[in-house]
């Protein structure tokens, strides 16, 4: 299964950019820039991060960060056009610390990453909160220009190490653990 030649999304593994880990993706999603698809993507990432051991709050934060990122691609990258393409990939990176890495790529408008920044929150007005929320709920949030077009955003969130959801309620010494 090493070669990706002839696969429907051939060439995927040829795209390792600066900042991205070499770990293979668990999943890679291509979608059109329709706001209706944000809910399915959140549902998928919520389930994935629950399985990875994130708790409810962290899972909600991860879904929020990706939702905000995709909403920005749809609104700013593609100016609301619904036929743009967006790629989302998820991988688990173990070094230096275990974390979930989500990469979001588009082919839309490019912008200097330094220009993508949260606004002053004291100025209460509608909008301008997405980047602030993304930064607050992730451990890392890095934009860069893609070649030849569009933007790439890499979001990272540390995976809690100690929890194991499967055994959560089974304490040592209770009958259900004492089975021979």
């Amino acid at each position: 299964m090493a070669g990706m030649g002839g696969s429907p999304s051939g060439g995927r593994t040829g795209h390792r950019e600066a900042g991205m880990s070499d770990a293979p993706s668990l999943m890679r999603l291509e979608l059109v820039s329709q706001p209706e698809l944000l809910a399915p993507v959140r549902a998928m990432l919520t389930s994935l991060s629950e399985r990875l051991g994130f708790d409810e709050v962290e899972t909600g934060h991860l879904a929020l960060a990706v939702d905000e990122a995709l909403a920005n691609v749809i609104r700013h990258g593609y100016d609301g056009a619904t036929d743009g393409r967006i790629w989302i990939s998820a991988r688990v990176v173990d070094e230096p610390t275990r974390r979930l890495q989500i990469e979001i790529e588009d082919q839309g408008r490019q912008i200097d990453p330094a220009m993508i920044r949260p606004r002053d929150l004291d100025d209460v007005r509608p909008g301008g909160l997405g980047v602030h929320l993304m930064r607050e709920v992730t451990d890392s949030c890095e934009f860069e220009r893609r070649t030849p077009a569009g933007m790439r955003l890499v979001l990272e969130k540390s995976i809690p190490t100690s929890r194991s959801p499967g055994r959560r309620d089974n304490k040592a010494g209770t009958p259900e653990n004492g089975t021979p």
Partner: protein, 117 residues
């Protein structure tokens, strides 16, 4: 693909107040629908508009922006806007956006009605 874009909003009109209860997740797909319904309701210049968020398990910044705009419109119309019944996950978004002190936020609709805040 459009059928899921319209926000279900239950509306209850009482003497001097309107209770609007959106049902479901509020994101970029649905906030335009929320925005236009809230605009309609505020157009009626109710003395108080209570937005019951108890059936909203998720809200992103497009939903928050819609509520900020509704707050501004309500002020221009001398309506009082109150957010009631916010779930923890939604409240955390308001806190991160530092809007939890900008809005009047109460525990539930009953409190909002009783207090006449």
């Amino acid at each position: 693909m459009t059928s899921g874009n319209e926000m279900q909003i239950d509306v209850d009109r009482r003497d001097d107040l309107v209770v609007a209860s959106p049902v479901g997740e509020i994101d970029l797909a649905r906030s335009p629908s929320l925005r236009s319904r809230l605009g309609e309701l505020l157009g009626e210049k109710p003395p108080r508009l209570i937005i019951d968020l108890s059936k909203v398990p998720y809200m992103d910044s497009s939903g928050v922006a819609t509520l900020v705009e509704a707050l501004q419109v309500s002020r221009s119309k001398n309506s009082t806007l109150v957010l009631a019944g916010m779930q923890d996950r939604v409240r955390s978004v308001f806190e991160i956006a530092r809007l939890d002190t900008v809005f009047t936020i109460v525990a539930d609709t009953a409190t909002a009605i009783r207090d006449g805040s």
